[in-house]
Amino acid sequence: MAKYWNADIECMSREDMKKLQSERLVKQVKHVYENVPYYRNLMDEKGVTPDDIQSVDDLHKLPFLSKADLRDAYPYGLLAKPLSDCVRIQSTSGTTGRRVVAFYTQHDIDLWEDCCARAITAAGGTNEDVCQVCYGYGLFTGGPGLNGGSHKVGCLTLPMSSGNTERQIQFMRDLGSTILCCTPSYAAYIGETLHDMGFTPDDIKLKAGIFGAEPWTEEMRRSIEKSLGIKAYDIYGLTETSGPGVSFECEEQTGMHINEDHFIPEIIDPDTGEVLPDGTVGELVFTSITKEAFPLLRYRTRDLCVLSRKKCSCGRTLIKMTKPMGRSDDMMIIRGVNVFPSQIETVLIEQGYSPNYLIEVDRVNNSDTLDISVEMSAEQFSDKMKDIQDKEKQLAGAIKTMLGISPKVHLVSPKSITRSEGKAVRVIDKRKLHD
């Protein structure tokens, strides 16, 4: 079984990788400067010319692009190829404002699918596998990306898309799916449904799952691994750079290898824009050095994470990024304190509760309120009021210890919180609705 999809790249020496990145960067900057007036203006304003960029060491000289630039330039302002050369668009859900539309040439799609093939191979996938893709298909990159990667690897691909969970399980059983690709929240729901249908992991052949497109915790990973009897691998990506496959996990499960032959990562201080050394928490920035149609240079992802060049036992030399600790736009400021939903999720799972929860933030009499509804299992239910109230208080105490602010915890019935088939909605911030 092949351990790597592209050993030459994935295990390349640092020196060779730097050389490859530099060559590609220099070429890419010229391509963008000549074909994207929007970015040329940004470079001109900063007084940078393509000649100033001779290697990756000069990357920091380039101006940043942000989500706001993508909105300003919508739809064609950052396009670097004539539309006649483009064959596909993909788009974000547009939840934080105007949607982002990304363009692909056939070459872009080939490279993107190749990145996904690396991820599937790292999860143990070969042409002997049956790969069930339950990410949404359509404008969302999840379905098309993993579908393409699965084809490249030669897996028998089940293009299920999301939804109709009992049918997902029926296909999984009838066709012997061995790899599952979906969002972690949907994987948890599939696991729950499997057990509700009276099955156990012994009744299915799944061995691995490739889960991404939303933040999830180590605790949730363990819970999914147990309920489906698999090893769960993280995958990362964003529509702006291509889609899933920008980085992927190997069997060590200690962070995701970035396909840095295509995407050069940097970590910056989100306030000053200053580049921070490896090992420091900061905002992740990507420069696409191979994309033709939609090549974003120094794109600020708003994801907070850490980069590490520590040697990996899998043999890959590709730099690793930690699971994003939260997207800077997922962060809520409640009573002046920074709160990430993932912190709350960690406490819930540690305390033996399900990862099905809903966070509601509101403002009553000029003071922020934090209400967390959590499902309790039949075993956690007690006939005595006091027991349930004690459990609520105890959980609220544990969350207070983590966050520094007191929430109001509401234990609710199993399955009363709406399940997600795609990206889970975990936070309702009613304060925004009032403004």
Binding site: F381, D383, K384, M385, V412, S413, S416
Partner: protein, 144 residues
């Protein structure tokens, strides 16, 4: 002896939830012999005694309700002033703590049945028997 099986159902504080639950039980031809609702701001617990406990559990479970079976003690209380007080005195003398209680109508005139949930069932039963208080058999409570 067998204790009475009370079914405690978790009910979210949402309009129509209680109606939905009792309709489900009624439509299955199950008779509610006794019931009591405990409520907080967020949720309620409906405690019921039915004529068909096992069938009810299957029904609730199939329909996704969260519930627990709780053993309780049923006592025949003389319908005279001081009737309940005498029973509580017997329990308190035996150091038994009552977690909750509720009364329900009985078919026999001159008698009101009361359900007790106690922290120590065995001691409670012995104390009640010593005091000459008549304990309800499960069949009597289920109205069979």
């Amino acid at each position: 002896m067998n204790s009475i099986q009370q079914i405690s159902v978790f009910v979210e504080n949402e309009t129509g939830k209680l109606a939905e639950l009792t309709r489900l039980i009624g439509d299955a031809g199950i008779d509610l012999c006794a019931l009591s609702l405990a409520d907080t701001r967020d949720f309620g617990i409906l405690r019921i005694i039915v004529n068909k406990p096992e069938e009810t559990c299957t029904l609730l479970s199939d329909n996704g309700w969260t519930f627990k079976i709780t053993p309780v003690i049923g006592v025949k209380v003389p319908d005279v002033p001081g009737g309940v007080a005498g029973i509580l005195a017997a329990l308190s003398d035996a150091n038994v703590n009552v977690e909750y209680m509720y009364a329900f109508v009985n078919r026999t005139p001159g008698e009101a049945d009361t359900i007790f949930r106690v922290d120590d069932e065995e001691t409670a039963l012995a104390a009640l028997q010593n005091a000459g208080i008549e304990i309800l058999k499960p069949e009597e409570a289920y109205g069979i």
